[in-house]
Symmetry: C2
Subunit: 227 residues, 2 copies
């Protein structure tokens, strides 16, 4: 389902080159639940942005559901992303001028869903993360953990086949974090493929496989016993 | 040093009232190292913003170093904040159009420090958090954990007497998180007063006292054995 080969990503900042990914190859099968761990700056978010079709590799190939991603136009990438992928950003990336409800409706708006159905599905997603009484708040009127949960609701609302979550419990207390992991486990049981970046062992323990990054390279790949 | 009494904070969003703090009283002595824990939305960041003079209470009193804060003008608050308090925001709040170095220089600029000394002190703070080779990067060219460390460096650079850190290790892997806690412990040994919000027990264990919040109220206050 997700097959990347010799993926490299180099950023150019002024005269400096940062090799964020230095030749990463990995195969993620349908309905796998994979955790990604590694030190700060090791390339995890860069990998997630590339998997999520938000950016392009400098070199290497990416086949997603038998489609060679590098041959797609930007519009085709955006369409595929909207249909198949739910993305939880490490820094939430909510639109500040919209309410929580409108932020969660966005993927449905893009998919052409009608207003009444959009609102009802967005409200259901917000209920799932415990925020129905905050749906009219703007991001600056919400706590850090509430904003993170709005970002999670937005990633789920379009029933994607793949969820890419970049540190989805980073701003949550343990109990709320466990509730979110139960949502992910439930989606996993229903067939969703999940790739989740985390720096917490107890969160990674919910996955069935853990990928370890260091300095832009994959340095470990292990099966989790009894996830 | 920090004495708040019956502090209340109510937000008004449209027609809805959110009672974020519902009567909080606490006394923090000089050179204490206090952790603050509690569920998402329980009022921790609200308390930190009020302690950090970034916002005003709806009612209640706040005495900081024998000064009654409610009698100060906005300019006097800003001056006191710049002199005494280093603040690490939960969502970093870095200026996107400035480099990491310029972001860290900001408190020194406000304090009237000359350019050469400003640059040298900002570079030292960035070295302390392991980011000297990223000082010319902008926030959008940095990883989540790197941005968090820039926010930490900015809080330390003016040698404040009080550090208020809202989830300062939330985006950091365990090892980098431990390095940051060592920085805080070193500052604590030198006499700094530290109040730190966290949802991780291993981080709270570095403090000497833990305050527990729930629904806008202080529900627990315990001494940590052998911090
Ligand atoms: N500007 C605002 N306007 C309206 N409501 C607000 C505003 N800021 C915060 N709130 C509400 O006040 C409550 C407390 O928020 P606060 O940010 O203090 O929580 P917190 O304990 O820091 O949570 P977290 O652990 O998720 O960061 C939340 O329910 C939030 O929705
Ligand atoms: N747009 C960019 N321009 C230049 N360098 C970048 C850019 N984005 C990321 N980097 C650099 O690439 C490296 C990898 O960043 P990435 O965000 O993938 O790390 P990460 O593993 O997600 O870290 P964290 O755990 O701190 O979030 C970092 O050293 C970062 O400074
Ligand atoms: Mg990251
Ligand atoms: Mg908060």
């Amino acid at each position: 389902m997700i097959r990347i080969n010799e993926a490299r990503k180099t950023y150019h900042t002024g005269t400096v080159e940062v090799k964020a990914l230095r030749g990463v190859s990995v195969h993620i099968r349908p309905n796998e639940f994979v955790a990604v761990m590694g030190p700060s700056g090791s390339g995890k978010s860069t990998l997630m942005n590339l998997l999520g079709l938000l950016d392009r590799f400098s070199s290497g190939t990416y086949v997603l559901d038998n489609v060679g991603v590098s041959e797609l136009s930007d519009n085709e990438l955006a369409g595929m992303r909207n249909q198949k992928i739910g993305f939880v950003f490490q820094t939430f990336n909510l639109l500040p001028k919209m309410t929580a409800l409108k932020n969660v409706e966005l993927p449905l708006l893009y998919a052409g869903v009608k207003p009444v159905e959009r609102k009802s599905r967005a409200m259901t997603a917000l209920q799932q993360v415990g925020l129905e009484d905050r749906m009219c708040h703007h991001p600056n009127e919400l706590s850090g953990g509430q904003n993170q949960r709005v970002a999670i609701a937005r990633a789920l609302v379009n029933d994607p086949a793949i969820i890419l979550a970049d540190e989805p419990t980073g701003a949550l207390d343990s109990r709320t974090g466990v509730e979110i992991m139960h949502i992910f486990q439930e989606l996993h049981r229903k067939g969703v493929t999940i790739v989740l970046v985390t720096h917490e062992q107890e969160i990674a323990a919910h996955a069935s496989r853990i990928l370890y990054f260091r300095d832009g390279l994959l340095v470990g790949d292990e099966i989790v016993e009894n996830p």
